[in-house]
C-alpha cells in the first residue's frame, strides 16, 4: 500500500450534527435519484469539513514554519 498524504481528522466537538439520527426512525425504501441526495449532504456538511481541513492545514503550516525557523537558526543541526 502506498503512503497516503492526507493527515488525520478529529472533530469530536461537532458530534451534535449527528444527534437527529438517534431520535428518528429507520427507513427502507428504494430511491429514485440517490445522486441528488448525495450532492445535498456534501453541501450540508461541507462547511464543517472545510473548517476542519482549514484548521489542519493552518496547524501544519505553523508547525512547519517553526521547524523551518529552527533549521535556519541551526543550519548544521
Amino acid at each position: 500500500m502506498k503512503q497516503i498524504s492526507l493527515p488525520k481528522i478529529s472533530t469530536r466537538s461537532s458530534l451534535w450534527l449527528l444527534v437527529p439520527l438517534v431520535f428518528t426512525p429507520h427507513f427502507a425504501h428504494a430511491y429514485l435519484d440517490p445522486n441528488t441526495g448525495s450532492y445535498a449532504i456534501q453541501i450540508a456538511v461541507g462547511a464543517l469539513f472545510g473548517a476542519a481541513y482549514g484548521f489542519r492545514t493552518f496547524s501544519a503550516r505553523v508547525v512547519s514554519w517553526f521547524k523551518g525557523t529552527r533549521k535556519k537558526k541551526n543550519p548544521d543541526a
Binding site: K8, T36, Y39, A40, G50, Y53
Partner: protein, 460 residues
C-alpha cells in the same frame, strides 16, 4: 492496417469517454473525441506522471494501431495479471483499494482534475498493490461542484467496510449482489446503532442515506442549492480517509484462520511435502499457478517465490486476510489472495451477466495446487470424485493434488458426525476417477503420513 470496427468489451458501455476492446490477445482503450480535452489535461497537467510514479495508476502507451474509427487516441495499458472483484477481496484489500482511490482523488484535485467514478471495479491489484485501471476516470475540476463520485465511493467502499468491521466479515460478499455498491439504506439497517455517533459513519452513511431518501421524494420541488468549495471538498476527502482508516478488522475466529498451527504433519513430513511441491512446480515451468485451497498462502508462495504469478484462493476471509498481510510485509508482487468458495465460486454478474465474469471464466491456469482440499470437497460437500476430477480438468493443464484418506484424523473429523456414504473415497477410487481426465506423472506417499501427493497432467 485497414480500418475495421472493433467490439467494445461487454462491461465497457457506461462511460461515453471511451471503451475497452481486445485485439489479438491485447487489451486496448479507445479514447472518444468528446473526451479529448480531459485526456489532454490528464497528460499535460502532470497528473498522469505523478500517479504513475506513485504506482496508483496503470501505465499506458499511446498506439497508432489498431485503427479505431471515431477515437481521439488508442491506448495500450499494461496488462493486469488477473482481474479480481471487490467481493473477492479481504478486508484489508478493500480498505487499501479505498485509501488508494482517495489518494488519487486528492492528487487529481491538486492538478485541477477530479475523479468522476469511484467504482471499486476500477481498482485492480497490479504487481501486488491496488491500482486504478480506468485512465478515463478523470474530468476537469469545476470550482464549487460537489464530488460526483461521492455516492459511489460510499457504496463501493465505505459501506461494505463498515459492515465487515461492525457486523460480520462475511458481509464483504454483499457487493456481489449489488453491482453499484451496497445501498446506503441497507447499510443503515444492518449497522449497529452506535455507528450513528461516529462522525464519519454517522455523516457518510447514516446522514447520507437520509439525504438520499429525502431527495428521492418525487413530490419534493426543491433541489439542493449551494456550492462545495475546494477546501470543503478536501475536508470531505480527509473525513472519508479518517473514517476508512478507523475501521479495523473485527476480532473473529474463523474455521481455518489458524490452520497451519493444527495440521496432521510432523516437521519431517511437512518438509518433504514442501520440497516435493516446490520441485514439481519448478519442473512444470508454469506461467500461472492457481492454489485452489490456499489458506494463508503458505504453499502458494512456493510458486510465487519462483517468479510465477499465483492466485491463492480460499473460502476463509480471515485466512485470505492473513495472506494479504503477509504480502504487504514481504513486498510480495506475484501472489494474489482471493476469497473464493469453490463449491459456489463468484458468478457472472451485471447487465446480461456479462459485465463481471465468473471466477472460473477468468482463469485458465498452467498449474493448479489442490493440497489438503479434496476431503473437504468430497466428504464435507458430497461432491463425487468424478465431478471434482472433471472440474479441475476444465480449469488447468497440470494438477498437483493431495489425497487425504479416510484414516487421516482430519477426514475422520469430517465423518464423525455423519454417516459414511462415501464407499468410493479410497486411494483406488480416487485414482480411477482422476484417470479419466488426467495422466499420472508422479506419485509420492508422504513419509510419516497417510497422505499421497500426485502430479497429474490433463488429457486432451
Amino acid at each position: 492496417m485497414p480500418e475495421r470496427p472493433v467490439l467494445p468489451h461487454p462491461a465497457s458501455f457506461r462511460d461515453p469517454s471511451g471503451y475497452i476492446f481486445t485485439q489479438q490477445g491485447s487489451i486496448f482503450r479507445a479514447v472518444s473525441k468528446s473526451y479529448q480535452s480531459e485526456y489532454d489535461l490528464l497528460m499535460s497537467s502532470n497528473l498522469y506522471v505523478h500517479l504513475i510514479e506513485q504506482n496508483v495508476l496503470i501505465p499506458h502507451q499511446e498506439v497508432s494501431t489498431p485503427t479505431v474509427r471515431d477515437a481521439y487516441k488508442v491506448l495500450k495499458p499494461e496488462m493486469v495479471q488477473f482481474i479480481s472483484y471487490p467481493y473477492e477481496w479481504s478486508f484489508s484489500q478493500l480498505k487499501d483499494a479505498a485509501l488508494t482511490t482517495l489518494e488519487i482523488q486528492t492528487q487529481a484535485l491538486n492538478h485541477g482534475m477530479s475523479l468522476k467514478d469511484a467504482s471499486a471495479y476500477n481498482i485492480q491489484f497490479h504487481n501486488g498493490t491496488p491500482t486504478l485501471i480506468d485512465t478515463l476516470s478523470f474530468e476537469s475540476y469545476k470550482e464549487g461542484q460537489p464530488w460526483v463520485a461521492y455516492r459511489q465511493f460510499c457504496q463501493h467502499f465505505l459501506a461494505p467496510l463498515a459492515l465487515m468491521a461492525h457486523v460480520d466479515l462475511r458481509l464483504g460478499t454483499l457487493s456481489a449482489k449489488y453491482i453499484d455498491g451496497v445501498p446506503l439504506d441497507l447499510a443503515v439497517s444492518l449497522l449497529p446503532g452506535k455507528t450513528k455517533f461516529s462522525l464519519g459513519l454517522g455523516t457518510h452513511i447514516h446522514l447520507h442515506a437520509r439525504s438520499q431518501h429525502k431527495y428521492a421524494d418525487t413530490s419534493l420541488k426543491s433541489t439542493p442549492k449551494g456550492q462545495l468549495h475546494k477546501n470543503q471538498l478536501n475536508g470531505l476527502l480527509l473525513s472519508l480517509r479518517s473514517s476508512i482508516s478507523a475501521l479495523t478488522l473485527p476480532k473473529q475466529k474463523t474455521e481455518w484462520g489458524n490452520y497451519y498451527d493444527n495440521t496432521n504433519y510432523t516437521d519431517n513430513s511437512r518438509t518433504i511435502k514442501e520440497k516435493t511441491v516446490r520441485e514439481w512446480i519448478t519442473a512444470q515451468k508454469p506461467k500461472t499457478v492457481w492454489d485452489a485451497g490456499a489458506n494463508d498462502g503458505t504453499f502458494s508462495r512456493l510458486a510465487s517465490a519462483q517468479g510465477i504469478f499465483t492466485v491463492a484462493s480460499d473460502i476463509d476471509p480471515l485466512a485470505v486476510e492473513r495472506s494479504y498481510q503477509h504480502n504487504k510485509q514481504s513486498g510480495e508482487r506475484l501472489l494474489l489472495p482471493l476469497i473464493i468458495d469453490l463449491t459456489n465460486p463468484s458468478p457472472a454478474i451485471g447487465w446480461r451477466n456479462t459485465e463481471r465474469d465468473s471466477f472460473l471464466k477468468r482463469g485458465q491456469h498452467d498449474l493448479t495446487l489442490a493440497l489438503a482440499l479434496i476431503h473437504h470437497l468430497a466428504i464435507a460437500n458430497n461432491l463425487p470424485l468424478e465431478h471434482i476430477a472433471d472440474f479441475f480438468h476444465s480449469q488447468t493443464k497440470n494438477l498437483i493434488i493431495e489425497f487425504v484418506p479416510k484414516e487421516d484424523s482430519n477426514t475422520q473429523r469430517l465423518l464423525s458426525a455423519r454417516e459414511d456414504i462415501f464407499p468410493n473415497y479410497t486411494v483406488e477410487g480416487f485414482e480411477k476417477a482422476f484417470s479419466t481426465h488426467f495422466t499420472t506423472k508422479k506419485r509420492l506417499k508422504i513419509k510419516d503420513s497417510s497422505r499421497i501427493l500426485y502430479l497429474l497432467e490433463s488429457k486432451p
